[in-house]
Symmetry: C2
Subunit: 145 residues, 2 copies
Amino acid sequence: MNTQLTLEQSYLALIEFLMLSKQRIIEIGTNNHLSSMQTITLLLLKNPRPMGTLRRIFNCDASNITGIVDGLEQKNLATRFDINSDRRVKMIRLLPNGKKLRNILVHELTNDHHYLLGCLSEYETKNFIELIQKITAATKAQKLT
Amino acid sequence: MNTQLTLEQSYLALIEFLMLSKQRIIEIGTNNHLSSMQTITLLLLKNPRPMGTLRRIFNCDASNITGIVDGLEQKNLATRFDINSDRRVKMIRLLPNGKKLRNILVHELTNDHHYLLGCLSEYETKNFIELIQKITAATKAQKLT
DNA sequence: CAATATAGTTGACATAGTCAATTATTGACC
DNA sequence: GGTCAATAATTGACTATGTCAACTATATTG
């Protein structure tokens, strides 16, 4: 019963997991007429954030964020606003429609008998999230080097 | 010190992890002139596979796979071939160049001081992969319902 | 004040993803 | 055996995502 995986096999398992998880998350948005990146962005906008933060999370060109936020604005889900402390930055916050829709997404996502983490026990979930947070922190830190 | 996460927060942590991991994996391919999906596909082609298997892993339209494999063929990295048992299916296998390049990708991916799993101990990695395999299996199974 | 860096936008372009229609083959079933 | 539905892959049209270079506006440094 000792099925020891090589590191290569571990990465292949990780890749399959990445593909599946992403699909699972964005399909909730698709059901609600959101594109994949609009779905992800909406989920990340529980609180207002500057565009730059999203850029760092998505690790993409800033112009991407412009397009995604344009889409959310057109759908009346979010809006840009300025802050005085630095007038270069645009903050984004959800409008009432956006908050409602976000609540729907979160509800479906965390609905026990559906989706990814639903199959894990409370203990396993905690364990799992600790591990991904460790990886996320370490990988981000390394990036700055 | 008790920083108990809600399920919602867990999913947000998962999303950040997904974005970061994908970036980290495909940037290795980008350094080697591959597009993101070509990178992922090459990694998954250790052994020949039918296009349909990739379609199921990526959970996308079949026409996507056609395009990705076309790209790999143009770069002389992979080739389609037929099997007798079912003449509708096209198998894909790596050509010598593709195998070489795949080895390079795997080498960089598993290079200890780089990338995602490098920050975990052997025990943590095992633990982590078991959890993602559990999630992957359960989520796939549920899908068929 | 000048030089440089940062936040965001725009437009051009390549890649990725969806959809509907099509071809070839297989499997089912009477 | 012959018809019919299902499956594997392709094509073409279209939208979304991602990258790049050029630009505007504001901040920071010195």
